[in-house]
């Protein structure tokens, strides 16, 4: 947010261009397994960008992100598929995103008024209510066993392994390769829009609401409306993410969209660095890829005979959970800026480097009793 004027010129654009070229070239070299991981990571990144707008940008804690992902996923599957109206896939995708936004809007009587932990637990309710609906609305969701997802087609080009057959530079382009580019395009769109929002007028208003609702209101920001709007926008990103996840899975089941998924998304934005778009993407890549990579290399990694396990070994999934639980604790404790904060320049002088820096030194000492600013100072970085 610190820079509104976009940096242009070859030197600023070069790293981005290089990254884009690299990402576009990857399907030519990677096997499908890695492309799938990448696809999941890109889908998760879009959702994380949305949650980051809400939690990092506005300071609202949400545990309901999985619900909005589910709305997008089932919304797309139903709108584009059978049973369902069977709309053209791009239209179904757009409508699924809007549907998630509407779901977020319907929650606005709560999200506009309820604050802090109350909001956190209220959003928890969304996950359970959503799960209940997914199990019971069998006509739409297929119930416990879920439903298949119609493949994405754009102007007659199908994002599957056939129709038309395609190979580029001798590499056959199957579903993974094709969806990779779809994911890349959607992630690019999400990144671009979220960055603009955070740096623009709405982002400033949201940051003001986060730092002090009273001050924001006095400066002319309609607080409740912006709190709700943040929810709607964040839900729309979640909807897009959910639809992409549905496309990657080709089949969706209610149990996937549980509380664990919501917590995964919180972990992504915290690990990446609250308030930063790049951080959300980095966090999403880490959280998504970690268990899959560990599974892939389970046989080479010294995991199976972990000591002190009472004879039972630690599986790759568990190892991933340990790593990631520990990462949350350690990052918050020692590097509250997240991955982005670590990579980025060292904290500028005068800027609070870590929340711990202003914490009471001992029992009883008031937390910087006369703190001149009431901003909660999430270790938030501007996006880049």
């Amino acid at each position: 947010m610190s820079e509104r004027v976009p940096r242009t010129g070859p030197r600023a654009v070069l790293p981005y261009a290089a990254a884009v070229v690299l990402l576009c070239a990857l399907p030519l070299y990677l096997e499908a397994y890695w492309l799938r991981i990448g696809l999941f990571a890109m889908a998760a990144a879009i959702g994380a960008i949305g949650l980051n707008l809400l939690s990092g940008g506005t300071g609202q804690l949400s545990l309901g992100h999985a619900f909005f992902l589910a709305v997008g996923a089932y919304g797309y599957a139903w709108l584009a598929g059978e049973p369902g109206p069977g709309l053209p896939a791009p239209l179904a995708l757009v409508l699924a995103v809007c549907l998630a936004g509407v779901a977020g809007g319907l929650f606005s009587p709560v999200s506009g008024r309820v604050r802090g932990v109350y909001l956190g637990v209220a959003t928890l309710a969304l996950v359970f209510l959503g799960h209940h609906v997914m199990l019971n609305a069998e006509a739409v969701t297929g119930g416990y066993n879920g439903r298949a997802v119609a493949p994405f087609t754009l102007l007659g080009f199908s994002f599957t392994s056939a129709d038309p057959e395609l190979s580029v530079l001798g590499v056959p382009f199957g579903a993974e390769e094709r969806l990779w580019y779809l994911g890349l395009a959607l992630l690019g769109l999400a990144w671009f829009t979220a960055r603009n929002i955070l740096r623009g007028r709405p982002g400033r208003a949201l940051a003001a609401v986060r730092d002090s609702e009273v001050a924001a209101a006095v400066l002319g920001v309609p607080v409740a409306r912006y709190r709700s709007a943040a929810f709607v926008v964040s839900s729309m990103y979640a909807g897009l993410s959910g639809a992409l996840i549905a496309l990657a899975f080709r089949r969706i089941v209610p149990d996937y969209f549980g509380l664990t998924l919501s917590i995964d998304y919180l972990a992504m934005i915290v690990l990446g660095g609250l308030g930063s778009v790049a951080g959300a993407v980095a966090g999403a890549a880490f959280v998504t890829a970690l268990p899959l990579v560990l599974t892939r290399y389970a046989d080479v990694l010294p995991l199976v005979d972990e000591p002190g396990a009472g004879g039972q070994g630690v599986g790759p999934t568990e190892a991933a959970r340990y790593l990631y639980g520990a990462a949350i604790v350690l990052v918050l404790r020692y590097a509250p800026g997240g991955l982005v904060g670590l990579v980025r320049r060292t904290p500028a002088p005068g800027r609070r480097a870590a929340p711990a820096a202003s914490a009471p030194a001992d029992d009883g000492a008031p937390a910087n009793a006369a703190s001149p600013s009431v901003r909660p100072s999430h270790p938030k970085e501007s996006s880049s």
Binding site: R113, Y118, A359
Partner: protein
């Protein structure tokens, strides 16, 4: 055959267990402004320890040891992890407890695996017949012990230095510190007490007619969340009220399942959340909660 009285009793028993967990939430929230997401895994820890210790030590020593150990772990979480972090960053601290929960839960779930553990409680599947109603002894024990424990905690709020300090700290951390309240100690004690309550709740959650301790038992804490919120996060009586409300709601929804079939199967599991949302729509700070002071 279920009767209204059975359902009510069921609900009260359930509510009394929720109250133990919800009270833990409230105590921690009052002391540190944090929603403790690790409460479920602390509960599981207490249950697990009781389960593995009771055959060697006997039930009561095992329970006491498990309660003490869980309190210790909870206290350590506060001392080692949360201490020194800026207490105003509630979100950060709350997410940190999620990290702690993941670590504890993964380890416990791995140890428990697919097993169903018994805690060796003395009530087994005995039943009592009171005024023509047959109830499991464990339910009676659950209600009795919860009432006693909660009564003691309430008395502690009112009459001990710790209780006074806790109330002062939750009103205004700064002022309390200036008046000589040792916030750190008050907070650690609060965490330990919440841990002890969770361990105790594990016992009643797994006693008859529940099958025993599973790796998923800790998820019960997720229902104590709405109980605590619904009553007003900073209000211990609110937690009690909310817990009973949630317990009875859940029992009613489960008991009249067939009549409510239009709303779908498994309504008992989501009814608490519906009730909470309705309450929050009317009172955004819970039934007995107070609006936070406006701070600029």
């Amino acid at each position: 055959m279920t009767t209204a009285l059975d359902i009510l009793l069921n609900g009260l028993a359930l509510g009394s267990v929720y109250a133990l967990v919800a009270l833990g939430f409230v105590i921690i929230f009052k002391a540190s402004g944090v929603m403790n997401f690790a409460q479920g895994s602390l509960l599981l820890l207490g249950g697990y320890l009781t389960a593995v210790l009771h055959e060697e030590l006997g039930f009561l020593p095992a329970l006491l040891l498990a309660v003490a150990a869980t309190a210790l772990v909870a206290g350590l979480v506060d001392r080692v992890l949360l201490r020194g972090m800026d207490p105003r960053h509630h979100h950060i601290l709350t997410i940190m407890t999620i990290g702690v929960d993941i670590l504890l839960l993964t380890e416990l779930a791995r140890r428990i695996g697919g097993d169903l553990l018994t805690l060796g409680d003395p009530w087994g599947n005995d039943v009592l017949t009171l005024a023509g109603v047959t109830v499991p002894t464990s339910r009676v024990a659950s209600i009795t012990v919860s009432v006693l424990v909660i009564g003691t905690v309430f008395a502690a709020f009112r009459h001990t230095d710790w209780g006074l300090s806790l109330r002062a700290a939750s009103e205004d951390q700064e002022a309390a510190a200036l008046m000589g309240v040792r916030l750190g100690r008050v907070r650690t004690l609060a965490w330990a007490l919440a841990g002890a309550l969770a361990a105790l709740a594990a016992l009643f959650l797994t006693a008859f007619p529940a099958p025993g301790l599973e790796r998923t038992t800790g998820q019960i804490a997720l229902k104590a969340f709405p109980a605590a919120i619904l009553g007003g996060m900073a209000s211990p009586p609110g937690a009690l009220l909310g817990s009973l409300l949630i317990g009875v709601t859940e029992a009613l929804a489960a008991g009249y399942q067939s009549e409510l079939s239009a709303l779908g199967r498994g309504l008992g599991d989501v009814a608490p959340y519906l009730v909470m949302i309705v309450v929050l729509l009317v009172r955004p700070h819970g039934l007995l909660g107070t609006k936070e002071a406006v701070r600029v």
